[in-house]
């Protein structure tokens, strides 16, 4: 037998919700036979679990990646050299990756790479974390 725990439900008034998103969510919820309360709760649960709040590391990584993109034309002139980008700026140019890596270890967050191809966004497939758990009867 499954243990069913009914969550306590609360009435809330939320200001500033995007009208178009709300309309589409309402239509999707109706199609799936889900109440808006359950749909919003599910969305908020996902938001809390997966986090939208960027921490300092994420911010710095973005800053460094943006620097590499914005300055790629300048960096291209150093093709074959290793660069270290940290704190949103170029920290050094090196003749070898190993040398650059030793230097970059003084930073908490840094991009360290040999200048070759233009930075790209790549996607990786990741399967679900499927573990079947058998509920043991007491």
């Amino acid at each position: 037998m499954f243990n069913m725990i009914t969550p306590v439900k609360k009435q809330v008034l939320i200001r500033g919700v995007d009208e178009d998103v709300y309309r589409r969510a309402k239509a999707a919820a109706a199609l799936q036979g889900v109440s808006m309360g359950d749909a919003v709760s599910e969305a908020l649960r996902g938001w809390v679990q997966h986090g939208r709040v960027e921490d300092d590391v994420q911010k710095e990584v973005k800053q460094n990646v943006q620097y590499a993109k914005d300055h790629w034309d300048d960096l291209k002139a150093h093709k074959g050299e290793a660069v270290v980008i940290s704190r949103g700026k170029l920290q050094g140019l090196f003749t070898s990756y190993e040398e650059a890596r030793r230097f970059s270890s003084r930073f908490k967050v840094a991009l360290t790479f040999v200048v070759e191809d233009t930075p790209q966004t790549r996607e990786l497939e990741l399967g679900p974390d499927l573990e079947i758990q058998r509920e043991v009867q007491p």
Binding site: D55, V57, K108, A110, T121, R122, L124, L126
Partner: protein
């Protein structure tokens, strides 16, 4: 020569794992052919190995089964599996607390899963 590892009994049924060495740390990783990357480790491991200071310039996103895209921190490292040393992309994200070895790593090897004996064998073989 083959490197072999016993399946991990931490999973039920037991799961094929290989023990890799990354920056002098031993990591037991589940073989996951559904993962197209090299190595996925928890962010705490990634951070403690100092990999945040060796990130690559490309941005990597993990496409989840529900189509969500999760940004990954990615560093290029040399990973040791038995007697083989393989340059591999190592990935981590705050919301992915898994240790997986994926297809990008496995393509360097012939991997055999022997279910009845619960043994994983990895052997290097040059491509024809």
């Amino acid at each position: 020569m083959d490197q072999t590892w016993k399946y991990s009994a931490k999973f039920s049924p037991s799961a094929p794992v290989i023990v890799l060495e990354l920056a002098a740390m031993q990591l037991e990783c589940v073989i996951d052919t559904g993962f197209s990357g090299g190595l996925l480790v928890p962010l705490s491991t990634f951070e403690s190995l100092g990999l945040l200071s060796g990130l690559v310039q490309d941005e990597y996103l993990a496409v989840m089964p529900d189509s969500r895209r999760v940004p990954l921190y990615t560093a290029r490292e040399v990973v040791t599996a038995g007697s083989s040393r393989v340059p591999t992309l190592v990935h981590a994200a705050p919301t992915l607390d898994r240790r997986l070895v994926g297809r990008a790593f496995l393509q360097s090897f012939v991997t055999t899963l022997d279910g009845p004996r619960e043994v994983v064998a990895l052997s290097s073989q040059t491509r024809k």
